[in-house]
Assembly symmetry: C2
Homo-oligomer: 730 residues x 2
């Protein structure tokens, strides 16, 4: 019987699952090794089959409604004789009662290493593959890893590496390591089966036994059906005209005219509601601005005001709606009527409130947007900040434009992070968007746009949830190969999920799937805005990363120990340098008071800069490391230089020029620490940062921040290399 | 046979282990349930015993040299008939060859849940108990927890909670939860056995099966012997006169006279070696100072100089040695000859170099110190910083004295942290000591001292290693009940261990034992100096902590989601407040643009401070939470107040007075974030911090820092309560 026939037959009889024999038959036809077994319906038949397989055998009850078989007494293991087989047959038939459809006689599979493999469809991410510990301990350990298919050999190896119980798959206590080729075939076969047949809701192979010779075999399997299924493409997806979306975003990012519906008439402080119109004006938007307010007098902030969209002299490239929530549907209908397509709804009070009124309002505007083919940013968000177009909706945004895009579900983060990044790290932005509840345009759309934008070299995202996770995953994986995508994903704990729902109405998703997302997509994972800034620096300034071996050159023994711990925890390698590698006046450098094995705790090199240079040169020429962290303990240098601020700047200049040159293209970064919070040191820090950043040397507060930024850089380059290797070999 | 007899007999025959039957016999006599078994030496005897137990049975080879029995074919499971028993007997005897001493016949123990329990002596910490997953998967998962005996019932419960596989010990797939009373008896009995018999090097029970009815039974056990053993008290311990040590430290902390051997003659910059004498003088040490330098002219820095210790007019209370390492033994001998007892060796170049010369020098000075009964701080350290006594060895130390002691193996950390803490957080110090290689005085000695010191309310430690871990553990556990002890333990990764060895020659110890240390001792674990500062603030200012429920009041939706994730990850509870809890003008507060479920993202409360007050009052009166974090997004407040710095200070003052009053003794802290790095905001931050800290309100940069500080506070109070409950019940 063909797989499709089996499934169709099951659906016709309205079965929620295939029976065990059918399930294994399907799996076997897709390359999953299954146990030798036969369906029997009488005791003599059972005995005959058992004799054929050879004793001992296993017998199980068979039936579409028979689950949790062990607990229901429907499994008999290790039957060693004809008599035992006969008895077991009778016992199982009795225990199964009317659910009984037959018995399954199986050869007893040797092996103590029980795994589980599975496939299911996640509401956000679609098909997901699971692999991990099986058998009865599965639920005690929950040691399973998820990935999104299709899976490469490297990704399957990565799944194994991510398991706590990975040692079981190596040579283990006299048993041979798992046959990886066979395992890869089985997992990819299972995925293919799930992918082809959209009626398959889930596949659960447990146990998948690894035999003493390393061969795998599926001993039990379940295939669940979605009797009410539709084709994949129908799910969660409305057909979208991607070219139109790209064009709409481009028009909103570079508009020649903007209308603000709900432009405020008078002054007043900003707490009674944001004055978006004034922000645009103050930031110097050079195009045509139309304030709209039915109760306005002739002008608002010196611009001619209009009572409604119908009275405008043109169809504006972009409309910002900032009226109370209950008026939004009306304004949106006006947009559709006038022929306006590009809209940012600033107003909050929709789905994110979790209240009936807000939910209904969101349904209403969604309907208007769908029917009118509108492209909507928001609602409940700050919209666009595009320094190049002089567009912004909040005060005091940096005017300078740069190579970084930031796509943020939170408006607060968009506003805060752009200030933080530009003021502290000289990071400037091409386009920033806060898109809140993601009515029609979501993170994926803006990501596509940023990927194509020539000005953008690094893309940052703050995400709470995403409706079509799979589409997002596919786009991130493509984009990552061209530009690094750094993502801060929030809402990964129970409390976080709840708060994300009330912030942007987002469905935050499961932590294990997001782990898969970061493993497979090449996206760089940040866990805070500060980390995001640190990582952005590395990706902006450091072009290559040959490996994970790092040298730390700085001062302080305690700090060196902490730094070593940080390296190991982040997966960087801190090789110990051989004695005598460094010399002073032709003599090996003294170890008293200096740790010179790595980290190099040798304060004097900052007062003998050519020594610092020689050390870097020695390390580069001998290929001892792949990257460098120079650590500046600013208080010590300040004091020991006799508070010579100019000298400290000279140190920074030396690192930015000679240091960088001697590192010969390998990543070289500076980490600093400051304990005294006094203005002269604060200002000095700012100046030193400027010197280094202008030369393209990233600067971090604290060694552990530098360590994690470099570790992310290394991880990204490993991803690129892995994908390239796979491409070549395929 | 009495346990002692069995052990003595084994030692007489020079056995490294007891045989399996002997081991279980000993364990059974100490309350560990063991499997029913019998030793047999002939096949008929085996068959007879099997019949007595009832089939199926298990048979194993027996012999002191028989380890890894499964792998050697010395175990036969599930023997179901006399014939099978007879065959197995012959097979095992053959496989064991000349190591065979007999066979063990055991009843087959039902149960799939296999655990392991053990006992061993750690070189640093002495007796350690282990409990965790057993059976063949033990080495794949390494899911075991260590604790130091004796164990309370609560500590054993804590061990179980710390296991990844803890679900196996609850009701699990039709099997009953483990009998905790029996498990506690078994583990405490095993500890007692190990404690009583110092010749026992290790005990390894594996598997310890949890049967379907929850009863436990030891199926296999090994007891290893230290045939060369000495009594516990001899190990690692030199008899110490604790009263003399306390007195010596007290004298060094409050000296009336100090001599500096190696006082430098001329000026020069500080890089050619520290000028300790000048530091003492500059800091205003009010007692008698004696510079010693054989080549000195009549005075050094205006003080009469002496050529050597013999020419001094008195025996100084404290001597600082700062001469090259090779001269240190000579100076130390002089000290002993003159009758000087209290010494700080600043010089480096000893054990920490890892080189032969340094190691020998350390042995030499250790010998001199022992024989002379000297109390030595160092070598390779910065020694004492005591603001009250005007003692310090580094420049620019804060002059003000305070309630915090800092005991640091690293001089750099001592110097950095005291500056950081006082300059940023108004934390001042009673006594700070950097003690490097810990020749005679180590962290434990200084901890004892700080515990007794009336001025000290909070004790901080930076530790790389400790020679006698057990003594340290015992002291920390006592002291924690009186004063919080916050410890930053470094050197917990491979690279960290290596660097710690070259920094202070420290033996860093195993991560799992340090986990036990922090679980059992009540010490508060910090992972960086910044965390240490954050935690110190909480412990200095917050007196009680009724629970883990926290309210966060602040601005920003994205920040709220991140904060929620941080709370869950740190083990704080963020209860969702019911709708309508807060009112504005008698109406329930609007949800549009505000998240009011917790975190409360309602920016307007900072511009309507009585509203903030009413919210805190409502939460306190309704007992909705145990603690409060007020979050100040300084950029937003700065902008939205129209850059009204005075208003922002007013917000801080309101929180420090009314806010604190309305929290009614429950912890209330402030977290702030600043994105724009501009002087006016930096100064404002400093002023706001001062207002809050002066009122006893801790201030943290970032919500996650506040969250982890409060979580540590809660953990400490839980420890105190647990110990008090145990005391009452015993």
């Amino acid at each position: 019987m063909e797989p499709t026939d089996v499934i169709d037959a099951a659906i016709r009889r309205n079965a929620k699952t295939l029976n065990e024999a059918e399930a294994k038959c399907l799996l076997a036809s897709h390359g999953v090794p299954v146990v030798a077994e036969a369906v029997v319906r009488t005791a003599p038949e059972a005995v005959r089959q058992a004799a054929l397989f050879g004793f001992p055998v296993v017998m199980k009850g068979l039936g579409a409604r028979l689950t949790h078989k062990s607990d229901r007494g429907l499994v008999a293991l290790d039957l060693r004789s004809e008599a035992e087989v006969g008895e077991a047959f009778a016992r199982i038939r009795d225990a199964a009662g009317s659910d009984w459809e037959g018995c399954l006689v199986q050869a007893l599979v040797p092996g103590r290493r029980e795994f589980a493999a599975g496939f299911f469809r996640d509401p956000q991410f679609g098909p997901v593959v699971m692999f991990g510990l099986g058998g009865i301990f599965a639920e005690a350990f929950e040691d399973v890893v998820f990935r999104m298919p299709p899976l490469s050999r490297a990704e399957i190896d990565g799944m194994i590496e991510a398991l706590a119980c990975r040692k079981l798959l190596s040579d283990f206590r006299g048993e041979t390591a798992v046959d990886r080729v066979q395992l890869v075939q089985a997992l990819t076969g299972m995925c293919r089966l799930g992918a082809i047949h959209s009626a398959i809701k889930e596949i659960d192979i447990n146990p998948l036994i690894v035999q003493p010779d390393g061969k795998i075999v599926a001993v039990d399997a379940l295939i669940g059906l979605d009797t009410d299924h539709r084709e994949e493409s129908d799910r969660n997806r409305v057909s979208r005209d991607q070219a139109a979306i790209d064009q709409a975003i481009d028009q909103m990012v570079h508009p020649e005219s903007i209308a603000v519906v709900g432009a405020r008439r008078a002054g007043g402080n900003s707490l009674s509601g944001a004055d978006l119109f004034k922000q645009l004006q103050d930031f110097g938007f050079p195009g045509r601005l139309y304030p709209i307010n039915p109760r306005a007098s002739e002008t608002i902030h010196g611009c001619k005001a209009y009572p409604d969209l119908f009275s405008l002299p043109e169809i504006p490239d972009h409309v910002i709606i900032s009226v109370p929530a209950k008026f939004v549907p009306g304004v949106l209908s006006d947009c559709a009527a006038v022929g306006i397509k590009n809209i940012h709804i600033f107003t909050a009070g929709f789905k994110e409130t979790g209240e009936e009124e807000g939910l209904q309002l969101q349904v209403k505007i969604e309907d208007i947007a769908q029917k009118g083919g509108l492209h909507v940013i928001g609602p409940n968000c700050m919209g666009l900040y595009v320094p190049g177009s002089r567009m912004v909706t909040w005060p005091e945004a940096p005017a300078r434009s740069g190579p970084v895009a930031f796509i943020s579900q939170s408006g607060g983060h968009a506003r805060d992070f752009t200030k933080l990044a530009s003021s502290r790290f000289g990071i400037h932005f091409s386009v920033v968007v806060s898109y809140g509840n993601a009515l029609t345009l979501d993170g994926t759309d803006f990501l596509r746009y940023a990927a194509k934008d020539d000005q953008t070299r690094v893309i940052l995202m703050y995400l709470e949830g995403i409706a079509d996770g799979r589409a997002f995953f596919d786009v991130v994986r493509q984009v990552s190969l061209i530009k690094p995508v750094i993502i801060l994903k929030a809402g990964l704990t129970d409390a976080g999920v709840r708060v994300a729902a009330s912030h942007t109405g987002a469905l935050a998703g499961s932590r294990k799937i997001w782990d898969a997302f970061f493993c497979q997509s090449g996206a760089v994972r940040a866990t805070s805005l500060n980390e995001m800034a640190a990582f952005t620096q590395s990706f902006l300034h450091l072009k290559k990363c040959p490996g994970r071996r790092v040298a730390i050159l700085g001062s302080g023994g305690g700090i060196s120990v902490n730094a070593a711990d940080a390296c190991t925890s982040s997966g960087l390698i801190l090789p110990a340098f051989p004695p005598g590698l460094f010399t002073v006046d032709g003599e090996p450098m003294s170890t008293a008071g200096n740790i010179i094995t790595n980290p190099i705790d040798a304060h004097r090199m900052f007062f003998d800069l050519p020594l610092l240079g020689r050390m870097i040169k020695r390390l580069t020429e001998g290929s001892h490391v792949d990257m460098y962290i120079v650590f500046l303990q600013l208080d010590w240098l300040f004091t020991d230089s006799g508070r010579d601020v100019a000298y400290l700047e000279k140190i920074a200049t030396y690192i930015a020029t000679e240091g960088k040159r001697l590192a010969d293209g390998n990543p070289l970064v500076v980490a600093w620490r400051r304990n005294l919070e006094i203005p002269v040191l604060q200002e000095l820090t700012t100046r030193i940062q400027r010197v280094l950043l202008n030369a393209g040397v990233p600067v971090y507060e604290g060694i552990s921040s530098a360590v994690s930024a470099l570790s992310k850089l290394a991880g990204y380059h490993e991803f690129i290399n892995r994908v390239e290797t796979e491409r070549k070999s395929s």
